[in-house]
């Protein structure tokens, strides 16, 4: 069973919105292995801030549209 992180993301949706970009293509553009991208997408790995910015830059959206962190009061 995967250990979830509190950080969620919309990478999958953003990939499909960006001309059905493949995981391999995105992984290559941000300089990680496809397995690491899969781990990020599935919430098994929280990327570094730098990598998070790189991902957001690929989709040309702000960081908050890619990654979400739940408010403790919610």
């Amino acid at each position: 069973m995967a250990k979830p992180t509190k950080v969620t993301n919309s990478i999958r949706a953003l990939r499909f919105a960006s001309g059905e970009m493949t995981q391999a293509e995105l992984a290559e553009r941000i300089g990680v292995t496809r397995q690491t991208l899969i781990a990020i997408e599935q919430g098994r790995y929280s990327p570094s801030l730098e990598m998070a910015f790189r991902i957001a830059r690929v989709f040309k959206v702000p960081l908050e549209e890619v990654f979400h962190y739940p408010d403790p009061e919610e």
């Binding site: 069973m1 995967a2 250990k3 979830p4 992180t5 300089g31 990680v32 292995t33 496809r34 397995q35 690491t36 781990a39 919430g43 098994r44 790995y45 929280s46 990327p47 570094s48 990598m51």
Partner: protein, 139 residues
């Protein structure tokens, strides 16, 4: 499975199989007699050297099979690698106290050498298993 995860699996399998074969050889050589009189030095050196050679050979083969992916190592691989080495270091540090105590108590060289070898083996296994769990379950 990424190349680095494959490396961790190879390391775990070799780290488990080689000591099992080694201890089986020592058990047979002892033949129910006084185990401390068993000639263990050459088999132990072969086991240590063999594990190193097997790891290198397996890595070369896996690297050829993986092609371009073999050289790839990203921040997640580095974090998992560090975690594995950290766990291995602590296991080694704790288990090394056993041969230290045996040496202070002037125990037979056989027991000192074997508890130290076992400490190396268990530290390597703990490191490899930590990496595999981190790859499978997440950091």
């Amino acid at each position: 499975m990424s190349f680095q995860e494959k490396r961790a699996w190879v390391y775990a399998v070799i780290g488990l199989c080689v000591p099992v074969v080694y201890f089986a050889v020592i058990f047979v050589r002892a033949g129910g007699g006084d185990v401390t009189r068993t000639a263990y030095v050459v088999p132990m050196l072969v086991a240590i050297g063999g594990a190193v050679v097997l790891n290198i050979a397996a890595e070369v083969v896996a690297g050829i099979a993986a092609g371009r992916e073999a050289g790839l190592k990203d921040e997640r691989d580095r974090q998992i690698g560090r975690l594995g080495e950290y766990v291995g270091f602590y296991v080694m540090s704790v288990l090394a106290l056993v041969p230290l105590g045996l040496a202070m108590g002037e125990a037979a060289h056989f027991w000192i050498a074997h508890t130290l070898y076992l400490a190396f083996v268990l530290a390597a296994l703990a490191s490899a298993v930590t990496k595999i769990v981190a790859y499978r379950r997440g950091l």
